[in-house]
Amino acid sequence: MLDTPATDFAPPTAAASAAAVKSGQSSAVRVVEAAIARIRERDPLLNSFTAVTEQRALLRAEAIDATRARGEPLGPLAGVPFAVKNLIDIAGLTTVAGSKINRDNPPAHRDATLIERLEAAGAILLGALNMGEYAYDFTGENIHDGPSRNPHDLNCMTGGSSGGSGAAVGGGLVPLALGSDTNGSIRVPSSLCGIFGLKPTYGRLSRARSFPFVASLDHLGPFARSAYDLALAFDAMQGFDPDDPISVDSPVEPVVPLLDRGAEGLRVAVASGYFKCKSGEACYAIDRVAAALGANRDIEIPQAERARAAAFVITATEGASLHLDRLRKRAGDYDPAVRDRLIAGALAPASLVVKAQKFRRWYRGEVLKLFTEVDAILAPATPCTAPLIGQQMFTHGDIELPVRANLGLYTQPISFIGLPVVAVPVPLIPLPIGVQIITAPWHEDVALRLAHALEAQGVVAAMRPAM
């Protein structure tokens, strides 16, 4: 067992770091050096980084300090360190996507669009983060790089597949990180690591120059320690990108100016039926958030269990299609748990896949009708708090379920139709748990307003890491 001593370390937020740099209270170089020191001290325990771009970060920080010295304006994220899941391209580094196989690829020649946009806003890239192999994972474990570890109990999972992103932000190494979410890979680690995560509307944020998993379900999005920081990052990354085929040419809609509108006038309901919580922690979290938002009605998301089943089928088969050639040539180099699911997906009948896609369209139509009655729906983000690393099964109500396949049972029916979600952390001792705030497509503003209001009430918060 690893020790997880209590600490009074209060990780800085992105907004606080940027304010300090802009005011001259600190410099970008000092902020970056402090982040590097935290990574050196704490990451040997958390195992969240797979590459640290120290030189690049210091050069960038010097450039930002020089800009300030010239009296020129700084961006909203000036001097804010961030890191990205290692399926997102970083120029000069190989994009490994949590795999052994991709380590043989040449280095990326250009940063991913979202890195370029964050840096244009003044943020400073500090490196690449651990993840489940090829993003086919809910645990945060990786047989090649080792598991990322939960900052609140190093013996526990971070959740996945963006496990390094959860550990790095939850552990206070960086205030901001990027991850991907195909079936829950932003929301699950947000919940288990006790931080804020945003899965945007499908097509809202560019995925250009990131390694795909299931193209028709893949999203990229940010992790942070406050709703305000999520909004800052979201605003910096918005905008059409012709390099991503599914990027929607919709207007940029800044959310930061809207945050203080709070929850007033918003109709919020709690998802019932399939989403009914079954653990004490998940129920406590939902009840607290619902009470704070005055959400006193339940709403049934129709056929959610079937939606999850359809998402599972599409994931297995579309993922298999992506990996078919690699499976032929290098099957032995995969994590066996990933390989065997991909091979199975390759054998599934196409007739079921088309049915799943048809169902998806029907389900989307039905769920969108709900948003004529309410503005947001609350649901648990995970069925339980962080399981132990290596744990195979967990108790869900009165049944035992496999951990790996089921940590995302509440997230899959939502990302299946591309709805935006903010996962908010409810602090609990010893481990936090998250709640999903789900809104209609293109209404990230509503979810972020509600998250910000909950934070102001002290109902949700990123816990200090216990290490």
Binding site: A309, L352, K355, T395
Partner: protein
């Protein structure tokens, strides 16, 4: 608030959810990265139609199948077929649109 969930820890690493698949996975990890494609015997295939599908399907797609992987692949295929069945039984009109890309 106390945690109520009972943890049932098992030896780490093998992650498929059936014992057989865990065993298969652990064995599979030790194989050479250039293992020759190797398929289950016809005798195994006769015992369950799904075994035959795993063997024939991997052969048709030119995918390798170490015998140690067979159980785990079969388990995962069963799961996909089970969940696909849930979708299949849901009535939809003939003109239901399968296009996967959707805009708000």
């Amino acid at each position: 608030m106390k945690r109520k969930i009972t943890r049932k820890t098992k030896p780490a690493r093998g992650r498929p959810s059936a014992k057989a698949s865990v065993k298969a996975s652990v064995k599979g990890r030790t194989k050479s990265t250039k293992a020759k494609p190797h398929h289950a015997t016809p005798a195994t295939a006769k015992s369950d139609p799904l075994d035959a599908l795993v063997v024939a399907g991997t052969q048709a797609l030119r995918l390798p199948l170490d015998p140690a992987w067979h159980g785990s692949v079969k388990f995962n295929l069963q799961l996909i077929l089970h969940l696909g069945g849930l979708v299949d039984e849901f009535p939809l009109p003939d003109d239901a649109e399968p296009g996967p890309v959707f805009y708000a």
